[in-house]
C-alpha cells in the first residue's frame, strides 16, 4: 500500500540586503511547490506577507531556479531516491514500498525543462516539467 509522500527538495537561499535577513526555501524537480525552511536572524525577521511574496516569486521563476541549480551543481539530488511511475511521464517520489523503483540518475535539460530519470533496473522515464 502506498504510504506518505516524500518530496526530494533542493534548498536555496534568498537574501534581503536592505533588511538583512536570509530565508531558506526549498523546491523540487518533481513537484511545482515551494516550501519555506527557515528564516534568520531572528532579530530581522520580515513580515509573513513578505515571505509569501518571496515564495510566489520563486514559484513564478521555478524554471530559473531549477536551471541555476543544475548549471552550478549538476545534480537534481534524486539519485538513490525511491519513486513510483504513476503514468507515462509522471514520476512521484515515494517511500521504499512495493512498486517503487530506485532512481539511479536524473538529468535535467534546462532549455526544454525535461527531466530524464534512469532507474536502477535500467528503465527510463522522461518527465516534462513545463505545463
Amino acid at each position: 500500500m502506498f504510504s506518505r509522500m516524500i518530496t526530494v527538495r533542493r534548498m536555496s537561499h534568498a537574501r534581503h540586503r536592505g533588511e538583512e535577513w536570509i530565508a531558506r526555501v526549498s523546491f523540487s524537480y518533481l513537484s511545482s511547490g515551494t516550501e519555506l525552511m527557515s528564516i534568520e536572524p531572528v532579530k530581522n525577521v520580515p513580515m509573513r506577507r513578505v515571505i509569501n511574496r518571496l515564495l510566489e516569486e520563486i514559484q513564478d521563476r521555478l524554471p530559473d531556479c531549477r536551471s541555476s541549480w543544475w548549471m552550478t551543481r549538476r545534480t537534481t539530488c534524486l539519485a538513490n531516491q525511491w519513486a513510483m511511475v504513476r503514468a507515462r511521464g509522471k514520476v512521484v517520489v515515494s517511500d521504499q514500498v512495493p512498486g517503487a523503483q530506485q532512481i539511479g540518475d536524473a538529468q535535467y535539460e534546462p532549455t526544454t525543462e525535461r527531466l530524464h530519470v534512469t532507474f536502477r533496473d535500467g528503465t527510463t522515464e522522461e518527465v516534462r516539467l513545463r505545463p
Binding site: 538583512e20 535577513w21 536570509i22 519555506l36 536572524p41 509573513r48 515571505i51 510566489e56 514559484q59
Partner: protein, 147 residues
C-alpha cells in the same frame, strides 16, 4: 498557479528552525583578507578565529587580491560572500572541511573520542538504570584467573 500562503504555524516553525540552525552550525561574525599571509580570517560566533590560507579555498584562488577586501558576511553568519563575483561560501562547510587539515590526526581523534564519550543514548540510559538496580556496574571479568 497561485502558491499556497504559509500559515502562522509554518512561519513560526521556520523561525524556530533558523534559531536551531544558528545554534548548531559554525557561524561567522566577521571576515577579512589578511594580505601579509595571503589568508582569510574568519571570526566565529564563539569569538574564536581561524586563519585559512587562501590556497585552500578553491572559490577564492582566482580572485585578484584587491577584490578580497570586499569579502562580507551574510546577516545570519552562515556564509561569506563576494557579491560582485557572485561567490558565496558556507562558513560551516568551509570550516568543517579545513579543520582536519589544520589539526594533526591524533588531535582530531582525541576530539572525536572526547565528544563520543559524552554522547548519551536511550541504550546508555537503560543500561545505566539496570546497573544501578544491581548496585552499580558489574566488575569486568578477568579473562584468566591465577591460582
Amino acid at each position: 498557479m497561485s502558491p499556497r500562503q504559509i500559515t502562522d504555524a509554518e512561519f513560526a516553525a521556520a523561525i524556530a528552525t533558523g534559531r536551531a540552525q544558528a545554534d548548531a552550525d559554525i557561524r561567522a561574525q566577521a571576515v577579512r583578507y589578511v594580505p601579509e599571509r595571503d589568508a582569510i580570517e574568519v571570526i566565529t560566533n564563539h569569538d574564536a578565529g581561524f586563519l585559512i590560507p587562501r590556497a585552500w579555498i578553491g572559490a577564492l584562488q582566482e580572485v585578484p587580491t584587491g577584490d578580497l577586501a570586499k569579502l562580507d558576511v551574510w546577516p545570519d553568519g552562515s556564509a561569506i560572500e563576494l557579491e560582485d563575483r557572485d561567490i558565496q561560501i558556507s562558513v560551516h562547510g568551509l570550516l568543517t572541511a579545513v579543520l582536519p587539515a589544520m589539526l594533526p590526526p591524533r588531535a582530531i581523534a582525541a576530539i572525536f573520542a572526547s565528544r563520543g564519550g559524552q554522547a548519551t543514548s536511550d541504550a546508555k540510559k537503560t543500561s545505566a538504570r539496570a546497573n544501578g538496580r544491581k548496585g552499580g556496574r558489574p566488575p569486568k571479568r578477568k579473562t584468566k584467573q591465577v591460582a
